[in-house]
């Protein structure tokens, strides 16, 4: 995505290259964002090398050693079938990260443009698009999921589509809400009256100014998408056992909350770490993308 400065009155458009470099520099100046990036990179690396790193297989059943706590041989303990929780958490990262990124990416790719168009044009377009979104959002996600299973067939890819579809109306609503406000700003009106093309106004002037709630929603949805994979797994839509996914591991761990809390805690921590690092990157990205915000941070920095 190429990003343009949002307030034409303040800055003249510079070359996109230098602008992206500027964003990148702002981003890496933010220590938390860097930490988040590093952790995310490590997570992706872990997912890619999962089979190599994992000390045990995903279905190495060992009933006599079931439900044993963390130890030297099993750092994260064992589950109800005596399987190594650490190995399962590592291998689950592959599916869970995919579900998180692809499902949310799907929702972003469809929800944000719908919200932009609806909020910018208002009127009939808005009514039709938003009522369509309402219809979609009215369904119990579970029914939508089963229907998708029926139409597309089971499998993890379809689970991602299902989750993405469920989140699309949320992105549309949130984007639209902010677009409505931003569209009334002086500079947008000015751009309109100067005869700028709609596409240009939407993508160059409005989008950068509505990114904040979208980024927040993205990081939130990531967590929920990873968790809702568990619900879909139970319907045969998600990853099938014995293949692990963090959400499903947590759900299974619930039944052994008292006997073996580690069954749920470790996949839970994995989700938390992912969400947190993604949040840090998201916050940093938002700061870097928003010229107004940056100037305030700078001015504050000077005043300290």
């Amino acid at each position: 995505m190429t990003v343009a400065p949002s307030t034409p009155m303040e800055r003249l458009p510079e070359k996109p290259v230098s602008r992206s470099r500027e964003i990148w520099q702002t981003l890496i100046a933010n220590r938390l964002a860097v930490a988040g990036l590093v952790v995310l990179a490590l997570l992706v690396l872990m997912a890619v090398l999962a089979e190599v790193i994992a000390p045990f297989g995903i279905n190495d059943i060992d009933i006599p050693n079931r439900l044993t706590g963390p130890s030297m041989s099993h750092w994260f303990g064992t589950d109800d079938l005596g399987r190594d929780v650490l190995s399962r958490v590592i291998i689950a990262s592959r599916v869970s990260l995919q579900v998180g990124f692809i499902a949310v990416g799907f929702a972003l790719a469809f929800g944000v443009p719908i919200g932009l168009v609806a909020g910018y044009y208002r009127g009939k377009t808005d009514s039709i698009l938003m009522r369509l979104m309402d219809i979609l959002f009215s369904f119990p996600a579970i029914l939508l999921a089963i229907a998708i299973l029926a139409v597309l067939g089971p499998g993890i890819r379809n689970a991602m589509v299902a989750i993405g579809l469920v989140y699309t109306p949320i992105f549309a609503r949130i984007t639209r809400g902010s677009v409505i406000v931003v569209s009334e700003e002086v500079y947008i009106r000015a751009a309109r009256s100067l005869g700028a093309r709609d596409g240009r106004i939407i993508f160059r002037h409005i989008l950068p100014n509505v990114l904040a709630p979208i980024i927040v929603q993205t990081t939130l949805s990531l967590a929920f998408a990873i968790l809702s994979e568990a619900a879909l797994s139970f319907l045969g839509l998600g990853v099938q056992p014995p293949n692990p996914a963090w959400g499903r591991m947590l759900a299974e761990g619930r039944n052994f909350f008292q006997q073996a809390p580690w069954m749920g805690i470790f996949p839970g921590v994995a989700i938390l770490v992912t969400v947190m690092s993604f949040n840090f990157v998201g916050d940093g990205l938002r700061d870097a993308l928003d010229p107004k915000q940056k100037s305030v941070i700078e001015s504050r920095g000077q005043s300290v």
Partner: protein, 314 residues
């Protein structure tokens, strides 16, 4: 304004019609049918055929839909396939529990999220901000079923302060009503609250960076006064949007929380309807959910207009 309302209500009716068509189509796409599920493992072809015929399931799909629609337009949502009860009454008897939990959870969420989000934004980049941020991310990453089980074990089993499960109507005993409500409301409220906190923080932060705030600062206004007078009024729209979304989502019933706390809400009813492939019941439940959702959206749009005079009613 009244013209606007009329238009929106008409749109709502069209949307509800759309919902009913999609539900009908979906339930027929899904494998399994209500008779098959009712028979369970004891399958008998003759009985299967007879029951299908009796319930009209053997008729063409379109015909079934219009038969249903005809009745629905007269206010009759039909009978549940599984127990021959009127769908309307099955949905209505679950409503008090669902609405109670939705508002209680939203209340918890707002009480937590507004102060937390504002403080977090005002102290942006300071330890307090990080603390709130970390707490809200734990709240988001913690699934409802995990949190619910933890609260039950702590507050019901170990401390014996609150009941583990069930629902008591307010009319029967207000105190028991509240005691049964606390744990499920907190379970879902803290999660919703974590979501809303993120939006409040972001919206307030955005508003804090506007020129007029800098001007106000320059004028030497107190920080609290700036927030109250200049920041919050400009931060409401995204907050109202997300609160509306959360309420819409809560009004649809919360399957997992309802299961864990044995809460007799709509979520479980809709789940049962899906499992039993009981499409009349499902239609009823989904139509109600859609109606609630559309109404909330309408209210949110009206609030937009109130909050920001520049936003015109279209």
């Amino acid at each position: 304004m009244s013209q606007f309302l009329t238009k929106r209500i008409l749109q709502m009716l069209v949307a509800l019609l759309g919902v009913s068509i999609v539900v009908f189509a979906l339930i027929h796409l899904v494998p399994g049918d209500p008779v098959r599920v009712a028979l369970g493992t004891r399958f008998d072809q003759d009985l299967y055929d007879m029951l299908r015929e009796r319930s009209g399931l053997d008729r063409p799909f379109i015909e079934q839909y219009f038969a249903w629609l005809g009745n629905a337009l007269t206010g009759d949502l039909g009978l549940s396939f599984r127990n021959s009860q009127p769908v309307t009454s099955l949905v209505l008897e679950r409503l008090p529990a669902t609405i109670t939990l939705a508002f209680a959870a939203l209340f918890v969420a707002i009480v937590v999220a507004l102060p937390a989000g504002i403080i977090s934004a005002v102290r942006s980049g300071k330890p307090l901000d990080y603390a709130v941020s970390a707490a809200s991310q734990v709240g988001i990453s913690m699934p409802d079923f995990w949190a619910g089980v933890m609260y039950i074990l702590l507050f019901a089993l170990t401390l014996r302060w609150l009941p583990s499960s069930g629902y008591v109507s307010f009319l029967e005993s207000p105190i028991e009503w509240l005691r049964h409500l606390v744990l499920p409301a907190i379970t879902i409220g803290l999660i919703s609250g974590s979501v809303i906190t993120r939006f409040v923080r972001s919206a307030v932060l955005e508003a804090l960076n506007q020129d007029y705030v800098r001007t106000a600062r320059a004028k030497g206004l107190s920080e609290w006064r700036i927030i109250r007078r200049h920041v919050l009024p400009n931060a409401w729209i995204p907050i109202v949007t997300v609160v509306g979304l959360q309420l819409g989502f809560l009004m649809g019933g919360l399957v997992v929380v309802e299961v864990i706390f044995a809460w007799p809400g709509l979520g479980r009813l809709a789940l049962t309807a899906v499992k039993d492939r009981d499409f009349t019941l499902l239609q009823g439940a989904v139509l109600y959910i859609a109606f609630m959702f559309l109404t909330i959206n309408l209210i949110v749009d009206l609030i937009y207009v109130r909050l920001d005079p520049r936003v015109r009613v279209s």
